[in-house]
């Protein structure tokens, strides 16, 4: 019913307006865009359909796009074949704390860089940015020595604690955003007797929904996908994170890789990122509305 109403409305709408000529370039570009979208979606579709295949079918040639019969048991098997539940939990916990810690530490530092002038501020900021140039392998061993001396090997600490110390890229991103907030807002806060930390908490943060959402997504994806750090620091299999467990599925040359299970794992691993993105998307819109700028 609702759809038919809508259709009528749109008919009315078109009828009342002077009939426009069909814009062929628009139609063409839509067709082209749809085609490109479908091409981009193909691997994703293939991933999902493969996750329902039996192992034997994953070896078939030519490969089938849709499985002969849906094997839902794959989604149960993954929990018994791997400690998938434990790994999922570990990954969620580490990524969750990392996101909160990054948001807090990076925004605080960024606020400082954006709103205060002091001697050596630019030098400090340059130093901060220069840490972005260091690739992880360059600091891998010294950091390992540090954390192993602290007795942190085979704990989650080496994966979580660094997030409490900010990350250069996110600080840079937030600093640019904070610097663009209208000065008048802070003047108003100051007149009402708000402290600096109060203005950070009550003015800067609430207005930075979009930027904070971006940082949250970046740090979540980074932590969620990180393979090398957990591989280095975690030894016991009940401490493993998802990427480690998934890498292990293909890590034996002595048996045929269980691609169907790997695809199940990939589908399930994708979910939190999709959910986070949907949640964050709301904040993007809110952020733009609230600041009243641009």
């Amino acid at each position: 019913m609702i759809t038919s109403n809508r259709m009528q409305e749109s008919e009315v709408w078109t009828a009342n307006r002077p009939r426009r000529k069909v814009d062929f370039t628009r139609v063409l570009s839509f067709i082209l865009l749809i085609l490109i979208t479908l091409t981009m979606l193909m691997p994703l579709v293939f991933m999902v359909t493969t996750s329902f295949k039996a192992q034997r079918e994953t070896m078939q040639y030519p490969p089938t796009l849709f499985p002969d019969s849906l094997q839902f048991s794959n989604y149960v098997d993954i929990f018994s074949r791997l400690q998938f539940g434990t790994m999922y939990q570990n990954s969620l916990m580490i990524a969750g704390i990392t996101v909160l810690a990054t948001l807090l530490s990076s925004s605080l530092v960024a606020y400082g860089f954006a709103r205060f002038r002091g001697t050596g501020r630019n030098l400090m900021f340059m130093l901060l940015l220069s840490t972005m140039m260091l690739p992880y392998p360059a600091i891998m061993i010294p950091q390992f020595v540090l954390f192993s001396k602290l007795g942190w090997v085979d704990t989650f600490l080496p994966l979580i604690v660094p997030a409490f110390f900010g990350s250069a890229y996110n600080i840079f991103l937030l600093r640019q955003f904070f610097a663009n907030l209208p000065e008048e807002l802070f003047d108003a806060g100051r007149m009402d007797g708000c402290t600096e930390i109060g203005m950070y908490w009550k003015i800067a943060l609430p207005l930075s929904g979009a930027a904070m959402a971006t940082v949250a997504i970046f740090s979540f994806i980074y932590s969620w996908n990180d393979l090398l750090t957990p591989v280095l620091y975690l030894n016991s299999s009940d401490m493993f994170t998802l990427p480690v467990g998934m890498a292990s599925l293909t890590s034996s040359k002595f048996r045929v890789a269980p691609w169907h299970l790997l695809m199940v794992a990939s589908v399930l691993a994708l979910l939190p990122i999709v959910i986070l993105f949907i949640l964050a998307q709301k904040r993007f819109v809110e952020g733009i509305v609230l600041t009243g700028i641009k």
């Binding site: 530490s105 002038r117 192993s148 409490f164 016991s236 890498a247 292990s248 890590s251 034996s252 048996r255």
Partner: protein, 455 residues
């Protein structure tokens, strides 16, 4: 912007120090994995392996071991295959080295040996009265991980190169199965190629396309050895994997590579690399898709044999011109690392893993790892549904008689050599260059790598 530096920095200081305090508090939960053991106190040893069910099965053996040896605790540390070597290096550099491991990753024995990572076990073995016969380890396998009479590793599992064939395709084409007996003089490389021709179906329809043979004997630099060509000088095998000379542009080597690539381009019995990739995916094995009749390769392909959608048989690698060597061996040893604080306890664990009953149990737990213990090996031969145990036994015993350890375990800096070979041979592999034009370049690159290794 108003400058309120003074006020701010005190607050900032407070926040930062709070963060530090949290970090310090958190650090309290970690720590305390020291394993210093005086007499009577339990000692913890770490066994480092790949995170894959066919390797981590040892975890299931630990409770029984710890019951027998109450003063030793075994901890298993794992990493995925790709990251195995970098994690090991980091652990050693960080003073957190495991006690026992093997060359489970890309690097081989020679690499570990030359990086001085391994414990010379000779004295320890003497002191503990280690006897290889007690564990039914063939002498020639024990010799592989010795340098100048010093033992650096003890074999615990052994893969060989064998010929795997698809019985269904043989039946359909009416070709008799190849023999498993290495003494069958009629079974030669040329006979294998002739059979492969009968089993090859060339067609424009990818569904009907079928190939007779894929020849994955050893790695690329290893392969001419099968035809009797010498690639590395003899001192390589005695001095810990440092060849003084290589012969990649010798007429014998060129002739051998021509035969190997001729399988694809002249005889047309072997699949071109792009076909293999499209059928089996990157790094996959086209044989398991059932579109290839014979496959010469490492016996690890067997581990999946009970899941293949067709019947499998095993046969001897045919005679190819090298009278002494017909099968590349992949014998995995256990090493004790130099940094181990408890080598004696580590050896106890190794000895436990080699016992006949444990080696037998390991076959089941790992899903088909070939044991080095020859008494336990009988169980392995009977492990596969469609394979006659007699054939597999023949193939293994023949392989030991005509076997040579894979070069990737024996030559220093092998990962560089292998990468270089793959890159340089690429044009030959896809048919855009001739072997004789490429090999002088390979030889030159090889000399450069060796010169760097010696430094």
């Amino acid at each position: 912007m108003v400058n309120r530096k003074g006020k701010w920095s005190t607050r900032m200081l407070a926040v930062v120090s709070a963060l530090f305090a949290i970090a310090v508090m958190l650090s309290g939960c970690g720590g305390g994995n020291s394993s210093v053991g005086a007499d009577g106190e339990a000692v913890t040893i770490t066994y480092y392996t790949i995170d894959s069910p066919d390797r981590t099965f040892v975890e299931q053996l630990i409770p029984d071991f710890e019951k027998q040896h109450p003063n030793i605790k075994v901890k298993v540390a794992t990493a995925p295959y790709e990251q195995f070597d970098s994690k090991l290096q980091t652990m050693i550099a960080g003073g957190n080295a495991p006690d026992i491991t093997s060359h489970f990753g890309y690097g081989g024995f020679a690499e570990y040996y030359n990086k001085d990572m391994l414990l010379d076990m000779t004295d320890l073995l003497k002191q503990e009265g280690f006897d290889a016969d007690k564990y039914k380890i063939p002498k020639n396998l024990m010799d592989i991980y010795q340098v100048d009479g010093h033992t650096y590793g003890i074999p615990f599992s052994s893969y060989v190169t064998l010929l795997l064939y698809n019985k269904d395709l043989f039946d359909a084409a009416g070709v008799p199965y190849p023999p498993s007996d290495y003494n069958d003089k009629s079974w030669t490389f040329d006979k294998m190629v002739a059979d492969a021709k009968k089993l090859t179906v060339l067609s424009d329809d990818p569904n009907k396309q079928q190939y007779g043979l894929q020849f994955g004997w050893g790695e690329l630099d290893n392969r001419p050895f099968y035809f009797g060509a010498k690639m590395y000088s003899d001192d390589t095998w005695k001095n810990g994997g440092m060849p003084s000379e290589t012969y990649f542009d010798s007429p014998e080597a060129i002739a051998a590579y021509k035969k190997i690539f001729g399988l694809v381009f002249d005889d047309k019995v072997s699949p071109p690399s792009e076909w293999s990739a499209s059928v089996a995916g990157q790094g996959g094995d086209p044989f398991v898709t059932g579109k290839v009749a014979m496959s010469v390769g490492g016996s690890w392909i067997l581990s999946g044999a009970n899941d293949f959608g067709f019947n499998v048989g095993v046969a001897a690698v045919p005679a190819g011109g090298n009278d002494k060597v017909r099968s590349t061996l992949f014998v995995d040893p256990l090493f004790i690392l130099k940094d181990s604080k408890h080598p004696k306890e580590a050896l106890t664990w190794i000895q436990y893993l080699l016992q006949t009953d444990i080696q037998k149990e390991s076959i089941e737990l790992s899903g088909g790892t070939p044991p080095v213990n020859q008494e336990a090996a009988e169980d392995y031969y009977a492990h596969f549904n469609t394979i006659d145990p007699k054939d597999l036994k023949n193939v293994y015993e023949g392989a030991y008689e005509y076997g040579y350890e894979s070069f990737n375990h024996l030559i220093a800096n092998y990962s560089q050599i292998n990468d270089m070979m793959i890159n340089e041979m690429q044009p030959v592999q896809n048919g855009s260059a001739r072997v004789e034009d490429v090999m002088p370049g390979v030889q030159k690159k090889m000399e450069e790598i060796l010169a760097r290794t010696k430094k």
